[in-house]
Amino acid sequence: MASNALKPSLLRSVAKRGYAAQASTQQSSFSLPSHEPKVTALPSGAVVASLETNAPVSRLAILFKAGSRYEQAKNLGASHTLRACVGLGTKNKSAFNITRTVQQAGGALSCESGREHIHYGMDIIRDSVDTGLDILGEVSLHPGLKTWELGDNLRRIKDELATVDPSTLAIDLLHKASYRNSGLGNSLFVPNHHLGKLAPELLGDFHASTHTASRMAIVGLGVDHGTLVSFANGLGLSSASGASTAATVSGGEIRHETGAPVTVVAVAGPGASIGTNDAAALAVAQHILGVGPGTKRGSAASNILAGSVAASGGLGSASALNVNYSDGGLFGYFVIADSASVGKVVSSVHSAVKGLKVSDADVARAKNQVKAAILMATESSAAAIEDMGLQALLTGAYRTPTAAAAAVDSVTAGTVNAALSKALGGKLSMSAVGSMASVPYLDQM
């Protein structure tokens, strides 16, 4: 070999010195092409959205309008059970096959379910996107729902139920109180009386009625748009659209006594639905009230709610609560406090929120915070694909974080005050988890 001649150190150093004397080659600057997001609405009703990010890892997701709001009384908990069953055997592949195939391709398979959606996600090396789509389609569209696998999987569901933290429970109960006549009031989690009782046929019916083309969105980051479109076209799903109930807010109150030393209280009125102007205004209002520390391990001492907690003399923390759904939402506040002083903390926070009148300076500051929150949240590709999927699923379109941030610019103090009075002037709902002794009732506040 020629390189062997250079092995002796004397020769090598001579050669290096020779290179050093040479003029360095001119590096031509090169940057990867940047792409715009692409959205295609298929005739079947499915929406395909993708963004080429030039990343070596592709993120793929299939979303269905199959969250807990589409459950009926007979199949409450079906969406949770379907989510927990991801990774088990399907009609054409065994659980072992799925696990080994994904691992061999260096991928990760996950599933998330909210009140409106189920999100089947796959992170995979760009070269193996076809494998990833194959598995993703199989997992989401053809679950096996074998009796024995469902039985074995009960432990996982029980573990999950056992580790539901009080905050999650409080927000679950807040939805139950607010949307008492609507599907949005259904819990994210399978109720105890359905634990292990949901038959495969019942789950199969729920799956068939919700996993249809018209209720589907397929999204991808770092993937070719054409690949996703042809994948979506090849699925051969029916376009039937299942039933759903309107999100009507009715006031209510649910208190859950656990005797815990820390009590969680959530209070909310009717909020804004996704994509409306009210949503932008309430997002600004949320940041005016406070969303927790803006810096890592910070104290968030400067916002309005933190001030009111301090003024009450109690021990706790409070933040604004703003949840948006496709046709409704909740806006209010969320308090975690020492059980002994929760009464005065909640009363103080409640009066601060009710009496909130925002100024232009507040709005200007909060608009920056909202824009930063939007842009920073989408820095991680996990959050970015969740956002893209939810937009495609619930609105049928996709607006980039930059465009969304620009929409906040039109918010003024007047629109914020109007949105706030609409939200807090409506029927309020309340949920509380912990020690109820000193927690006030809604009509006492």
Binding site: H80, R83, A84, V86, G87, I98, T99, V102, Q103, A108, L109, S110, C111, E112, S113, R115, D123, V139, R156, I157, D159, E160, A162, T163, V164, D165, S167, I171, D172, L188, F189, I274, G275, A279, A280, Q286, G292, S319, A320, N322, V323, N324, F334, V370, A373, I374, M376, A377, T378, A382, A383, E386, D387, L390, Q391, L394, A397, R399, A404, A407
Partner: protein, 234 residues
Amino acid sequence: MLSYIGRSCQLAPALKGSTQAVANGLKNVIPASSQVRYAHTDVQVPDFGAYRRNDVQDPRAKSGDTAASRLAFTYMMVGGGTVSGIYAAKSIVTEFVSSMSASADVLALAKIEIKTDEIPEGKSVTFKWRGKPLFIRHRTEEEIAKEGAVDVGSLRDPQADAERCENPKWLVVIGVCTHLGCVPIADAGDYGGYYCPCHGSHYDTAGRIRKGPAPLNLEIPPYVFAEDGLLIVG
């Protein structure tokens, strides 16, 4: 649009449930709410105090101070155990091996003592030794001279007379014909020694085969002249 504003706040995890079906290193934060960590406070740490030496029970004592005595005890136990183990093994092996040798009653019959004075010259006397007949012949000078003069080369089983008789006066042979095991008759046959009546084998007075079908000379047992007038066979 704006779908994530509500989700980007600190309450986002409370608005959804997550399941990680297949995980890999790409996920820096696994949002799996099904991940459970148990604090196993009910597991008892085993106490081996009952098995530990008293010298090292106290955590504040220096173990180096008692090392010599502990080592001495260990070495003594190991050394003593090794020695007694080897001795026990040797006894067992000896016991088994000796079980294969002859028993005492057999050994008692293994030897006979004969008083040579009682055998007159020129006579062959028969004894019983280890279940077989034993011929003891007190040879005359004449017989000794005759057998010593035989040409060894002409014999079927060539043995000189001196080889067969330690003391030329005494011939000690087992009285079993080497042909088929009959008991020869003394003082008979063509050579004046022994004659087997079964198939006509003739032995001379040195017990050598001279004629007939037998292939070998009569067998000579181990014997010794212990003292004057006493012959011990066996």
